[in-house]
Symmetry: C2
Subunit: 210 residues, 2 copies
């Protein structure tokens, strides 16, 4: 009983794999449709344009991640003490839930996130704000609970440094893990990079200002 996969899903699956590896702009519809074993024109038929396809790929993950993250943040806010580290740990379970979407969902999603910010500046930011603005608001509020000494503008910048480190670690992840394995004989799984990352991020956010 081989299960029938729709053309639309074949495209989504092939596209996200190529996007995660090479970025959006550098992945052509011809590569995608060849990998998906569908006709070139079917992307425009089912999604309308390449841009809409990119959005559909991202939405599939965001719709799982964002509600899960929201639940974690609400739960955390009930605690008497909130630390920066605890806020970042809120991402662990939601990221893991992305495995429901795809086996290597967490890694794929973070790579996509990286390219989304690098390639189409503002485009994804607007989408995220429109659909999940309340979650982002809660994230900011919770981080402020943990760091009342940071002004909103300080927090704004530090959060983007956090995003940068995260995104870079994932986009360059395959290459970096290869180098690390060669130089230190120590191979770590893609999903474990996040374990190294979180303490770093918390330390950065908690750092005293200038």
């Amino acid at each position: 009983m081989a299960k029938r996969v729709s053309t639309k899903d074949k495209i989504l699956n092939a596209a996200e794999a190529l996007f995660a590896e090479h970025g959006f702009e550098q992945t052509s519809l011809r590569q995608i449709t060849a990998d998906a074993e569908v006709n070139l024109a079917s992307v425009n038929y089912h999604f309308g344009s390449k841009k809409a396809l990119i959005q559909a790929v991202m939405a599939r993950y965001l719709e799982v991640l964002m509600p899960a993250l929201d639940r974690e943040l609400i739960q955390l806010a009930e605690q008497p003490q909130v630390t920066t580290r605890a806020v970042f740990d809120c991402f662990r379970a939601p990221l893991n839930e992305l495995r429901q979407v795809r086996k290597h969902g967490p890694t794929i999603f973070l790579s996509l996130l990286g390219y989304a910010y690098a390639d189409i500046q503002g485009h994804l930011r607007r989408y995220t704000m429109d659909h999940f603005g309340d979650v982002m608001q809660r994230l900011l509020a919770t981080l402020h609970l943990a760091n009342p000494q940071l002004s909103p503008v300080d927090m704004f910048w530090r959060l983007h440094f956090v995003l940068g480190a995260t995104v870079f670690a994932q986009v360059s992840g395959p290459a970096l893990r290869e180098i690390a394995a060669a130089d230190f004989g120590e191979a770590i799984a893609a999903d474990q990079v996040i374990d190294r990352l979180i303490p770093f991020l918390a330390g950065g956010v908690d750092a005293p200002t200038e």
Copy 2:
């Protein structure tokens, strides 16, 4: 006495400005040669290929930054106490020296660095290691002085998180500063982002491991 600028330099100047703003892949030779007011074919004549032009643009900055950074690191190593923060502060003067190359050299260079890592993975890394491997070695050694508790592999990852945050902050810099100005009415200059960044980076590197 208008000073005569060679075609080669006109190309380099126009190219780096466009590269810094839009990235390498997304900047065409036609845009570059139009801005530089030179013929399209002159890029291939003087540099051989677009790839070689990219390398020439980066080299112009690296050849100023790296020796200056090396001097700072050597000087720092003579101090009795070395902190992570002090290591990162070593970048301030060398980055400022890039103004000799161009007025907004520091910002341009960091943007270029960002795109270099995002666009042509490994390509720039190899060039840097071939030409300035000794400086990178010294940087690692100095950071180890400041953080003897971190294993080499820990340091490897944290340094790349640092690179990611830096690069992202610069590449997304214009957009982020715009948003910050709109949301907080607080406009900060491009060169001041580094002042916000350094405490964050030092805090991240100094953070306790998992």
